[in-house]
């Protein structure tokens, strides 16, 4: 059993095959897309592989410490080079192969024209707790 993070990107990932920004989709296409995601999550819940999923707002800000007694420095929102995460899903599966298969399925969510988006998802394993036997 291992947990994986499926990351959806606004920016930073390679361009998807069916690349049309969501604001240009029809209402029905958006509904179908959301429905697909919900069904996918519900199916994983039933197989006991679902852990968590969240969507993130696009407006991220870089922040850093700027010394004692000074307010944190920010670089302002929407910097051009930023990789933006649109959301994530955490799954708990038996194998890497299963994680790949699920990521592939999620990437097939319908987009413009009702066709699969073929978007690139980032698949990242969680670093787990140290297993008992490591010697």
């Amino acid at each position: 059993m291992a947990k994986y993070l499926l990351l959806k990107h606004y920016r930073g990932a390679p361009e998807s095959v069916n690349h049309v920004p969501m604001e240009k989709w029809t209402q029905e296409e958006i509904t179908a897309h959301v429905q697909y995601m919900n069904d996918f999550a519900a199916r994983l819940e039933e197989t006991g592989e679902y852990v968590d999923s969240q969507a993130l707002a696009p407006g991220g800000t870089f922040v850093r410490y700027d010394g004692e007694g000074r307010p944190p420095v920010t670089d302002g929102p929407f910097a051009e080079t930023k990789d933006l995460i649109a959301g994530w899903m955490v799954i708990d599966v038996d194998s890497y192969e299963r994680a790949l298969a699920l990521a592939g399925e999620l990437s097939a969510a319908p987009g413009a024209g009702g066709r699969p988006i073929h978007e690139w998802l980032e698949l990242r394993p969680f670093l787990g707790e140290s297993p008992t036997v490591t010697e």
Binding site: T47, G48, E129
Partner: protein, 379 residues
């Protein structure tokens, strides 16, 4: 209300219902209902024979649940087959639960969850906490697993090797939250060893005890990994080591060697050495040869290369490593260690950094990163 007593009785009550012909999923539900009843009734009126009480109530719950028009005939058959009342004393009713929970049609994670629930008597919430998944997720995993094994017949013994693999999986999960999965695995393997006379069951129990005995010294209080050679041996749990070695010797005397006995033998040689320098590496290499013969696993050959490095020097270890596929997990870590001992610090530092990249858990990654940093500072 004695929760430990209830938990220890749960699997055998479940086993009795299944043996009487109850479908597994229905039996599990019935036992849960009986436990709820016990929690309600026992504080005022504790039965003289708690197990008998649970069996009676669970069986009644099971019959109630199956009392529908469609199930009527089946229920009547079951009532006919019902054994005469009396104390329930059968010892190996739990045994078939082990086989059921390790059924080959289950995925490893389902088998583990079902075993912890049905044999271990843990609650769904406890299992979910141990695996850091939502309770609803674990509940679904367990109920799917129950459905999968529901039709499985138990007219012949299952494969012990599968059961052992599931228990070893539980053990290797370590622990988190309030359930110590390593201790739980040892408890279940003890039960199994009491119910079944098999040298590999003894071998696995010995292996777990020997590994578990070193647990307190394996990490610092803040979670930093301590390698075997640097561990404070005075903190090893000597009673567990003595018990493990005793169990292992009795198993080996039966001359039916298997991989768990061989692994336990290696763990015993480590546990027996008063200092790291006094470790009998020559004998450990011999046991790795046995293990490689039994399993032909690349992980075993990787570990063997480490042992060869200790027994015959790092050059010999590196030679043993050459025959191995570099994609085996921890290959880079082993190569780094052998190069470091051979004095090639540049290569060692590079390989430690590479190994840290591939590590699958935080403690190991931090450990390897520290090693790389230490060598880089020294050059």
């Amino acid at each position: 209300m004695n929760e430990a007593l209830l938990r220890s009785l749960t699997p055998s009550v479940l086993g009795i219902l299944v043996r009487r012909g109850a479908d597994f999923a229905a039996a599990e539900d019935a036992v849960q209902d009986a436990l709820v009843e016990a929690v309600r009734v026992w504080p005022d009126d504790e039965p003289r024979d708690p197990k008998g009480w649970l069996v009676t109530v669970a069986w009644r719950k099971f019959l109630d649940a199956t009392r529908s028009e469609a199930a009527r005939r089946r229920r009547e058959d079951l009532v006919d087959e019902e054994p005469p009342p009396g104390p329930a004393t059968s010892v190996d009713d739990t045994l078939q639960l082990y086989f059921l929970c390790a059924h080959p049609s289950l995925t490893p994670s389902s088998a583990v969850a079902l075993t912890l629930r049905a044999v271990g008597g843990l609650t769904t919430r406890q299992i979910a906490q141990a695996y850091l998944v939502p309770e609803a997720t674990m509940a679904q995993r367990i109920s799917r697993a129950k459905r999968t094994v529901s039709g499985a017949r138990l007219d012949r013994a299952g494969d012990v090797a599968t059961v052992l693999r599931v228990l070893y999986l539980v053990f290797n999960e370590g622990y988190s939250g309030d359930v110590d999965l390593a201790a739980e695995a040892i408890r279940l393997t003890r039960q199994l060893a009491a119910a079944i006379d098999h040298p590999e069951v003894a071998g696995l129990l010995a292996l777990m005890l020997l590994h578990h005995a070193r647990r307190a010294s394996r990490t610092t209080p803040d979670g930093v990994l301590v390698p075997l050679a640097e561990q404070d041996r005075s903190r090893w749990h000597t009673a567990s080591i003595a018990e493990g070695i005793g169990i292992l010797q009795a198993a080996l005397a039966r001359d039916r060697l298997g991989e768990f006995q061989a692994q336990a033998a290696i763990a015993a040689l480590h546990a027996d050495a008063p200092t790291a320098a006094e470790t009998d590496w020559v004998q450990i290499v011999e046991w790795y040869d046995e293990l490689a013969r039994l399993t032909d696993s690349p992980v075993v050959r990787l570990n063997r290369a480490v042992a060869v490095g200790e027994a015959d020097g790092p050059r010999a270890g590196l030679t043993a490593l050459k025959d191995l596929d570099a994609t085996v997990p921890r290959h880079a870590a082993v190569a780094a260690y052998l190069h470091e001992r051979d004095g090639d610090l540049t290569t060692a530092a590079r390989l430690y950094a590479e190994a840290a990249h591939q590590a699958s858990n935080l403690a190991e990654r931090d450990h390897l990163t520290r090693r790389a940093a230490r060598l880089n500072a020294r050059r």
